[in-house]
Symmetry: C2
Subunit: 221 residues, 2 copies
DNA sequence: CACTACTTGACACTGAGTGCCATCGATAGC
DNA sequence: GCTATCGATGGCACTCAGTGTCAAGTAGTG
């Protein structure tokens, strides 16, 4: 039996080590830039061996991306918790907002997150891994959306694309996140981003949606 | 002065070498899988040195991704060529369709392309690079869209997100591309994917679009 | 104390990617 | 016809990411 809820002593020790490594990594990467830092540099600061680093993180990119990766699970669970009759644009907007509000409430934690976001968006290698993560979330969101609206995800492109539009909104928000932005400003960015995709999100969720009215189809009707 | 248009002899020789390397690479990668093939394997088949490979391709991923990368430029130029008053959903649909129809007209070339697409979508490392490329196209498309509709891309999230939606559609199309699909089937997939995002594409392009009607905003009006 | 499970560090190894230099072949100028 | 030059190539050595393996240390448990 575990001593407390589900975190054993060993578990907490592991998290401590991981956090130590992450702190050292983020500090170096944010100041010197991604390519100018080697794993040896990181473990030298953290006072551990190179091998230990790779026991905790799958790659150098992983340290950075995982810092924001927990967001993904939050988004999916938040979407699942939204009322079933809610419009997709509203449910997804609140789902995306969940981790953002979590970032924004403590200013120091928010600033740290913002710096990591900038590092990711400005470093091609990190950006690629970040998008890879997003795809996993997208699949989770798509499955949830398909269930909510009783759609077949293997034939209907709506769930995947709706989830993708939520990710586009997230990207747009993070892209415009400026230093010193408070929670109010982030909420404003979120509302604006979702205003763009909302028409598609809400038009497509309905099974009896009107197709074929589109002009100039590649396939003549 | 060049002997013919803009391709010198040396230029054509370079392209020939690149094609030889690409053929060897694609053949091996498609049969054995991405991780099971080393660059040494590739150059052994192509009969060249390891060093030469990296003079033509920036990375192992690059060989595969560049095979489809020329699509990007086509899409942007096609969008620029569409009539200025055309609805965004129509213009973008035809822009995306351009490289797809180019793929689909010769069955053998189409099948080769389809296999490469599957390899990319099924290999995480390749998928990440593929998305990295898409980001570049997205910026190009966004710039073109901003110009078409006289929007300021630094403040208005529409151009970037609209370009992103076009990429989502492209992803959905490629994801559903099955063996033996002819041009007609690809056109059908394209129409269906764009039917999903069209409402947002066409609602957002208009400067005087209605915002604030969205229910349950994060910011109370 | 002995046993077990887990973590760590050290070493060696593969493979990607880069810098450097010697060489070869084609072309231009004498 | 000879040579200087330029670009492409190959070979070599190097850095760095990432992995497998093994020995040692450090808990908890009987």
């Amino acid at each position: 039996m575990a001593t407390r809820s589900d975190t054993t002593l060993a578990e907490r020790k592991r998290q401590l080590v991981a956090e130590e490594l992450r702190n050292a990594a983020l500090m170096l990467l944010a100041t010197r830039g991604f390519d100018a830092v080697t794993v040896d540099d990181i473990v030298a600061i953290a006072g551990m061996s190179r091998r230990t680093f790779f026991r905790y993180f799958a790659s150098k990119e992983d340290v950075v991306v995982r810092f924001l990766a927990d967001m993904g699970a939050d988004v999916v669970t938040e979407l699942a918790a939204r009322p079933k009759n809610e419009a997709p644009s509203v449910a997804l907007r609140h789902a995306i907002w969940r981790p953002l509000s979590g970032c924004a409430d403590q200013p120091d934690h928010a600033e740290r997150s913002r710096i990591v976001v900038r590092l990711i968006l400005d470093t091609p290698a990190l950006h690629a891994r970040w998008l890879e993560r997003q795809i996993q979330w997208r699949s989770g969101l798509a499955a949830e959306l398909a269930a909510r609206h009783d759609l077949d995800p293997s034939t209907d492109p709506y769930p995947q694309m709706a989830a993708g539009m939520a990710m586009l909104a997230l990207d747009a928000i993070l892209q415009q996140w400026r230093p010193g932005d408070d929670e109010h400003r982030l909420a404003e960015l979120t509302d604006r981003a979702f205003a763009v995709v909302a028409p598609a999100l809400d038009a497509g969720a309905d099974k009896r949606r009107a197709v074929g009215r589109a002009p100039d189809l590649l396939l003549a009707p």
